[in-house]
Symmetry: C2
DNA sequence: GCTAAATTCAACCAAACGGTTGACGATTCA
DNA sequence: TGAATCGTCAACCGTTTGGTTGAATTTAGC
């Protein structure tokens, strides 16, 4: 099992490249074979294949082969840890303080005021 | 002016490293000088300084020098384009399905159940 | 004015990245 | 069977990254 820290590393790194973000965006419109994904880009198929591998390592993309074609599917769930991390930055005050307080309360560590 | 595509590159790349994410998290608790930020890490000050420079390039961190000390401040606003990009991924499905359904309905292509 | 402290700068290193080309394996189809 | 197609693999190349160490710079304090 991948340590969660590494999961975030892989996810953010996967999104840090414009080619990969374009592939992700394209997959929102539906599953697609590798060659279709590669078409818009002025680079070799092998290069796109590597980008896809990168997305796969991050769990953002899965492939299912049917014949000689590999259909790529976007796995939006894999995006959630990164999304949560970012969202937490904006709200950490409220969320974390509440949870901390609740936990401290459960443990009887909260001093009455 | 930085092209917006590059802005996303820099932001996601900045977040793709655990040291930098830890620095960001630490700065949520308040501004801090470089050496304070460096303390938790088992690496040289120069290394942390480079990480900070990386965050600065992405616009996520600004410095204000007071004397020989540099106070670092988190710039959460710089996170917004990346956050928006990710949020868009999560909702495009619903949106598109709704629009598709509406369009099909308009065309009389929707089968009654 | 001298010394110590807080950072950055510069040079270096190994590893990863993003791309290329060419060979290879699998599959379809005539 | 043989030729074409889809995609990956392998080797290579130049650049970037994340770290090191040591010197340079700027400010503080005695």
């Amino acid at each position: 099992m991948i340590p969660p820290e590494t999961q975030l590393d892989l996810t953010f790194a996967a999104l840090a490249d414009p080619t990969r973000r374009a592939i992700v965006a394209r997959l929102l419109e539906g599953d697609a074979p590798v060659s279709d994904l590669a078409k818009p880009f002025a680079m070799s198929l092998a290069a796109v294949s590597k980008h896809i591998a990168h997305l796969q390592r991050a769990g953002l993309l899965t492939q299912k082969r049917t014949g000689r074609v590999r259909i790529c599917r976007l796995e939006l769930d894999a995006l959630r840890p990164a999304s949560v991390w970012m969202a937490a930055l904006g709200h950490i005050d409220e969320v974390d303080l509440d949870q901390l307080e609740a936990r401290l309360g459960d443990l009887g560590l909260l001093e009455p005021e």
